[in-house]
């Protein structure tokens, strides 16, 4: 998946990946995996097809109104997602002044020109974790979410959550 997103971000149709040998996944998903020979020395490699999501929705700790984002905890594959997706929607714990980015440009993980929209959404990663804002999963709300998914009532769950009625 990471290599597929990389191919999307690099603007190439596929990328060779390390490993994958012996996996039945390769034959199971021919629309995603293919085995090729290196044009340089004939080594066989598994390739994955590029993935460029229409949208990436990414929650960050700080963003300015232009979409410059600071990820203050683990960034996982968010930077890659932001570069592979056609459009990026940011939700943020808080909106900060652009001076924060000017002070430490290296901490801007996603620059504004990749971002379509910024949503001011404190607590937006709940019931999950957003280090260092909130550190533990809210299991009661998480179970309520699972229940809502099974019952097909996710939008009702979202309404309740946004209104603080969970």
């Amino acid at each position: 998946m990471i290599h597929a997103l990389r191919a999307g971000a690099y603007g190439v149709p596929f990328l060779p990946v390390a490993g994958m040998w012996g996996s039945d996944l390769v034959a199971q998903r021919p629309e995603f995996y293919s085995v090729m020979k290196s044009p340089f020395d004939g080594t066989e490699v598994v390739c994955v097809k590029a993935l460029a999501p229409d949208y990436a929705i990414i929650h960050v700790q700080e963003a300015d109104i232009y979409g410059n984002c600071r990820i203050l905890g683990p960034s996982y594959q968010d930077l890659l997602l932001a570069r592979a997706a056609k459009k990026v929607i940011i939700t943020t714990e808080r909106i900060v002044g652009t001076y924060r980015m000017e002070e430490e440009p290296k901490l801007t993980a996603i620059p504004h020109f990749l971002v379509e929209a910024v949503v001011d959404l404190p607590g937006g990663a709940k019931p999950g974790i957003c280090y260092p804002e909130y550190l533990t999963v809210d299991w009661a709300d998480h179970k309520a979410y699972q229940k809502a998914v099974k019952a097909g009532e996710v939008s009702l769950f979202a309404d309740k959550m946004l209104e603080g009625r969970l």
């Binding site: 390390a18 012996g22 594959q77 999963v137």
Partner: protein, 245 residues
């Protein structure tokens, strides 16, 4: 100090880690997390990388939940190193051990991680995917699978859909609550390597779905007082017990 299967398995895991190793574990790996923290407490100088982005987090802070994707494996890190970078690290030959698990395994070390029962599109049980282990297993010098259950449902004669399998030129190890199996470099099948003090080869055979040819194997030493003390030190909330319930 007494010990049970969790402590024995944790000690066996600790003993796999050598000074200088770069060691990775995947998601939902509480047994490994506790053992790796204890290895730090015992002074084994190795590098701990995981999906939380953290590198050598502060192992002195005890875990409070069994999840291995919390701030507990991040706070106090000396660097951040993402999963994408970890894959690259192992792909370029700079990683040593990947601790991974399985839904099922057979004697060739073929691992079911994608699904069990039915077929790929209509499984009885959908697994966590496992393309990560499909990438890592064939390229990691010492892939080490741990499984807190040892029974014939888990260790089967033949895995129908193998998410991944070991490479011929790599070491591959399976640690269970009863014993350790190893596939030496250049060989195709797992061999019973040793058993734990509280079991017998007969019990291992009765609970393994493939034929075990070995008739005599060493008994691994019980956890030492130092290992048990280290486990207690890093895990006062007994997260180690979680996967054995």
């Amino acid at each position: 100090m007494g010990y049970g299967k969790p402590e024995m398995m944790a000690a066996a895991i600790i003993r796999e880690i050598k000074a200088g190793d770069v060691v990775f574990h995947g998601l939902a790996s509480s047994t490994i997390m506790v053992a790796m923290k204890a290895a730090k407490a015992l002074g084994i100088e190795y590098t701990y990388v995981t999906l939380s982005d953290g590198v050598d987090h502060d192992w002195k802070r005890p875990p409070y939940v069994a999840s291995t994707l919390t701030e507990n494996t991040y706070t106090g890190s000396v660097a951040t190193f993402g999963l994408d970078e970890i894959f690259d690290l192992f792909a370029s030959g700079k990683g040593d051990i990947a601790f991974l698990s399985c839904l099922q395994m057979d004697k060739e070390g073929r691992i079911a991680m994608s699904y069990l029962g039915g077929d790929y599109d209509h499984p009885k049980l959908r697994g966590p995917g496992g393309a990560g282990s499909a990438t890592l297993t064939p390229i990691t010098p010492r892939t080490t699978i741990w499984k807190p259950q040892h029974d014939k449902k888990t260790f089967v004669e033949h895995v129908d859909f193998a998410t991944t399998m070991p490479a011929l030129d790599k070491e591959f190890t399976l640690i269970t609550p009863l014993c350790i199996f190893r596939k030496p470099i250049g060989e195709k099948y797992l061999k019973l390597d040793c058993i734990f003090p509280y079991t017998t080869i007969e019990e291992v055979k009765e609970n393994t779905g493939w034929a075990i040819d070995e008739t005599e194997v060493p008994v691994m030493d019980a956890p030492t007082e130092a290992e048990l003390a280290a486990l207690k030190q890093v895990d006062p909330n007994n997260i180690l017990a979680f996967e054995f319930k």
